[in-house]
């Protein structure tokens, strides 16, 4: 079945994509293009449900609904992992910021105390 090859290939692409690390503009553009492509596909699927079934049959899946489910699983995994990575990066930034703040605050307090002649 063609769908098996397509699904495995898409999972591999997702894995490679995620392991590659934070990309620059290219990654963002590709994500946006994929989003637009999905949106376009959705409109077509709504207007012509039979087209989905034909595509499904072509790749070796019985029903169009099954194909939609398969694609959904891949997209969902992709989105989850992407969000997870984003979240981790954000946490890393928060840690750095908090650390810098803690050190700066201590330095400022030290200066203030020596300015007013308080012993620490």
């Amino acid at each position: 079945m063609i769908v098996k090859i397509l699904l495995i290939a898409s999972v591999l692409v997702v894995a490679w994509w995620l392991l590659r690390g934070p990309g620059r503009g290219g990654r963002l553009a590709a994500t946006r293009l994929a989003g637009l492509f999905l949106a376009g596909g959705a409109v077509v699927a709504i207007l012509a449900p039979n087209a989905v079934t034909r595509v499904a049959n072509f790749v070796g899946v019985g029903r169009g609904a099954d194909l939609v489910l398969y694609v959904l699983v891949v997209v969902f995994t992709f989105v989850c992992l992407g969000q997870y990575q984003q979240f981790r990066r954000l946490e890393e930034k928060l840690a750095r910021l908090t650390r810098a703040h803690a050190l700066l605050e201590h330095e400022v307090e030290g200066r203030h105390d020596s300015a007013v002649g308080r012993d620490r």
Partner: protein, 229 residues
């Protein structure tokens, strides 16, 4: 006699009830005690300041690993400090052990001295904790390649050499494994020192849930898979 070229780092999160005693005891042997308050909401920071500790405050809770790294960054900026001790805030470590570990680091010149429970006394250690630690030890030996006799012990001594290369990215409890991995990767010299642990009702209640061992392994695996930004 207090040691001036040594800093003690105490990561702390809501330890207001015990921190005073821990700090008072530490100050008998160490001049410079740095408390890293990891976003406590119970006024731990004020208590620590009153006890004469240098307090660095995280405004939000980040985790023990992150708190330690903040302490490391602070000490790295103070050139006169030669050794750094990491010490848990719940009072499970002994100050005498810490002092003799610093002496050992100074005399032998090793980069890292790790506290090990196997040589010392473990008072009140629950049986499931012992089993879990044994499994954790096997995991640590395997993943770091170090011939350790204990793991995830909060009492350690690092010198400047170690401080230069140890940058903790694990913000939670997996930092202990990360330190072991960094020792191995940077070929730091190390030794273990027998220490005793007091498992009090307080430290048991504050201590990690045993299930957290799973989280530690998970964090370490996830860190291998995800490239850091």
């Amino acid at each position: 006699m207090t040691q001036t070229a040594t800093a003690v780092i105490v990561p702390m999160f809501n330890e207001g009830t015990v921190i005073r005693d821990v700090l008072d005891e530490l100050h008998e042997s160490f001049e410079l005690v740095i408390c890293v308050d990891d976003g406590s909401s119970d006024g731990s920071a004020a208590v620590a300041r009153e006890a004469g500790a240098t307090v660095l405050r995280h405004r939000v809770n980040l985790g023990q690993g992150a708190a330690l790294q903040t302490g490391f960054d602070y000490v790295r900026g103070s050139a006169h400090i030669e050794h750094l001790v990491t010490f848990d805030a719940d009072g499970q470590h002994s100050v005498t052990d810490a002092a003799s570990m610093v002496t050992r680091a100074r005399e032998t010149g090793v980069d890292v001295v790790l506290g090990s429970r196997t040589g010392g006394a473990t008072v009140g250690q629950p049986a499931h904790k012992r089993l879990l630690l044994r499994a954790g030890l096997r995991f640590s030996r395997l993943s770091s390649g170090l011939e350790l006799t204990d793991t995830h012990n909060g009492l350690r001594v690092l010198n400047r050499n170690a401080l230069q290369v140890i940058r903790l990215t694990q913000r939670g409890m997996a930092h202990a494994s990360e330190i072991e991995a960094l020792i191995a990767r940077h070929r730091l010299t190390w030794a273990e020192h027998p220490v005793s642990i007091r498992y009090s009702a307080y430290s048991r209640s504050k201590g990690q849930s045993s299930l957290n061992a799973f989280n530690i392994v998970y964090d370490l695996m996830a860190a291998r898979l995800t490239p850091t930004a």
